[in-house]
């Protein structure tokens, strides 16, 4: 492969990976901007990926699989929302707890269905998302290859979700209200802002986005299901938001940075697995996240109400 081709392929992978991590990250970004810290993203990704796989395996339909994934992700988020917004449980604790349940449930369901139930030794699905080429635009060298030969989900992400979120945050009153809630929900309440309603709607939106991103695991990047697939990406999303200083553009850049590492890992592993223990490449994203957090850590202030439980006074 020529140099240009390698670079183009790399960039294309980068964008594809950025959809995967970006959808979940942006959803959570809005959450955190209003003070909600949802640590159970990882669990939701696990369940979403598993449900996508199972649905695709049994129905062979991508659309249904995606819908199921969104639905299951939403139910996790609903559970989280119920516990934290209605029952006022500590957000961090609930997030970790829901995560653990999700892991357990995934193990259990997968094994019950495929090992005990069907006895399929290496289940795989035969459908996947294909790249859709946009005529003319995709012919542009490098950039065209990178941006216009992606799946429909990526197009959704790049050209709909990102601009929409940008518009809402920067250009509307809602953006200001979001900042206000994030800083001090009690003050916002006294000014007539229904904090719980905002948080709930944003939480559900994040659930949808996470559900969409979870489908990419088995519908694009792989056609089997491995329990280690998600590999902590839910937490990486959270780290990326910190890297992005809780602002939209820096967070997107952080996602791109992380995706570049993922894209590197994707192709490079097969290239150099002989030379260099592949585990170290796998470690790279986590180490990089830690180091990057170190670089940003000091000066960054999260939204003041992030993760805090609200006490009811009246």
């Amino acid at each position: 492969m020529s140099g240009v081709e390698i670079v183009s392929q790399f960039l294309k992978d980068l964008i594809a990976f950025s959809t995967l991590i970006g959808l979940a990250t942006l959803g959570e970004l809005l959450n955190e901007k209003v003070g909600v810290l949802n640590l159970s993203i990882d669990g939701a990704l696990w369940i979403g990926a598993l449900m996508t796989f199972i649905t695709a395996y049994f129905t062979g339909s991508i659309t249904i699989a995606i819908l199921v994934a969104i639905g299951s992700s939403l139910s996790i988020y609903l559970l989280f929302g119920y516990m934290t917004l209605v029952k006022n449980v500590d957000q961090v604790y609930t997030g970790v707890a829901i995560n653990l349940i999700c892991y357990g449930v995934c193990f259990y369901i997968y094994r019950s269905i495929f090992e005990w139930g069907i006895r399929d030794a290496s289940p795989h699905i035969n459908v996947s998302l294909s790249d859709i080429e946009i005529p003319y635009l995709s012919q542009i060298p490098i950039i065209g290859y990178m941006l216009f030969r992606q799946t429909i989900l990526t197009y959704l992400f790049l050209f709909l979700i990102i601009p929409l979120i940008y518009f809402i945050i920067k250009k509307t009153i809602i953006g200001i209200i979001i900042k206000a809630i994030g800083e001090d929900p009690e003050k916002a309440e006294t000014l007539g802002i229904n904090v719980n309603r905002y948080r709930f709607i944003i939480l559900m939106n994040a659930g949808i986005l996470t559900g969409i991103s979870s489908t990419m695991f088995v519908l694009y990047f792989s056609n089997v299901y491995l329990t280690e697939m998600v590999a902590g990406r839910g937490f990486i999303a959270i780290a990326l938001i910190i890297l992005g200083k809780w602002e939209l553009i820096p967070t997107i850049l952080a996602c791109l940075f992380y995706s570049s590492l993922e894209a590197l890992q994707y192709r490079v592993i097969t290239l150099i697995s002989g030379l260099f223990p592949y585990q170290f490449i796998l470690m790279l994203p986590y180490l990089a996240t830690i180091i990057a957090l170190g670089a940003v850590g000091r000066k960054v202030k999260p939204p003041a109400s992030l993760g805090k439980t609200r006490t009811r006074t009246k």
């Binding site: 653990l100 357990g104 902590g232 780290a239 986590y286 830690i290």
Partner: protein
């Protein structure tokens, strides 16, 4: 609550629920042999959960117990393999100590990052779990691999470094005894020392602790190191006393389950002791059951994973019953 959900799961798997529960209890605690096995199984959970009590009281979120466990196991194995020629009990002692040290140092990384750069230790300790996992994988497929088998595991460790079984027909060993001795030690240190008072204050109000001159950084380091050392020790116990080798499956998510258990036991050493026995019973019981009956392995994962949730719900219920406003979670 726990029992209710277990019953539901059994029902789903075509097993009569009361039969299932009975059998489970039998396999966990029914006979002396089973009882010892359950005690044995509870050790890593116990050690990790007890270790986590310290940082959790102080409000330091150590989610990295899993990784610290791995590092401890790695250190124990490596030391044992290296020092194989030395007479017993030297390698055993050195390996145990090195695993505690390794666990403690690994836990100090997120502690340092928090003290120096104000980075949330929850994320860093979590990331390090993955790093430790992959590192273990590398070692087991690479340098430490047992040349004679196909599996990712090390050669069995030399006899001189093994902790001998104290009770015949079990693997109940001296490290196990040590683990249980730690429980009362922890209890004393949490009720009668200055350290205990300070970490409670820090957990109750960090800003006030700072203004009142409490050395927050020192407490972060100390609590993390303590829990890291105990997690590492848990690793040593498994390697030196149970498996006598290092394998990929050495941890059954102990680090994460430990978090739930620490809270389930109400951040109290005695409570934690009881619930880790309970959890061990669940694991052993369901494993046995899945051998003989048609229940998929993995039931325990759901149950154990759900423990934190049960904690929340049961707290809520007790709150209502006792009519108190808030028990902290």
């Amino acid at each position: 609550m726990l029992i209710l959900s277990m019953a539901i799961i059994f029902e789903l798997s075509d097993l009569r629920w009361n039969e299932g529960l009975k059998l489970m209890f039998y396999y966990s605690y029914g006979s002396p042999a089973f009882l010892f096995e359950t005690f044995l199984r509870s050790v890593p959970l116990l050690l990790i959960s007890i270790g986590l009590i310290f940082p959790f009281i102080a409000g330091v979120w150590n989610i990295g117990a899993e990784g610290q466990f791995y590092i401890g196991a790695i250190m124990a194995t490596a030391t044992a393999l290296l020092l194989g020629e030395l007479p017993f009990p030297i390698p055993l002692i050195v390996a145990t100590l090195s695993s505690c040290l390794g666990g403690a140092l690994y836990a100090l990384i997120p502690a340092f990052l928090r003290v120096k750069y104000d980075i949330n230790e929850l994320l860093t300790s979590l990331m390090l779990n993955f790093v430790a996992y992959y590192f273990l994988s590398y070692l087991l497929f690479g340098p430490l691999k047992n040349p004679m088998t196909q599996f990712p595991e090390t050669s069995p460790i030399p006899l001189s470094s093994r902790a001998p079984a104290l009770i015949p027909n079990t693997r109940f060993n001296i490290l196990t005894i040590l683990a249980f001795v730690i429980v009362p030690i922890t209890y004393i240190s949490l009720t009668r020392t200055k350290f205990a008072v300070l970490i409670r204050y820090m957990g109750a109000n960090l800003e006030a602790a700072l203004c009142m001159g409490i050395n927050i950084n020192k407490l972060i380091y100390t609590t993390m190191a303590l829990s890291g050392a105990l997690a590492g020790f848990a690793g040593a116990h498994e390697v030196l006393g149970v498996l006598y080798a290092l394998r990929m499956g050495i941890s059954m998510n102990y680090g994460y389950v430990g978090i739930g258990l620490a809270y389930f036991g109400n951040l109290n050493p005695l409570g934690v002791f009881l619930v880790s026995l309970l959890a061990a019973g669940i694991i052993n019981g369901t494993l046995m059951l899945s051998f003989f009956y048609n229940i998929p392995v993995g039931v325990y994962q759901v149950l154990l994973g759900a423990i934190p949730l049960f904690v929340i719900v049961s707290r809520r219920i007790t709150c209502r019953v006792l009519n108190k406003s808030n028990l902290g979670i």
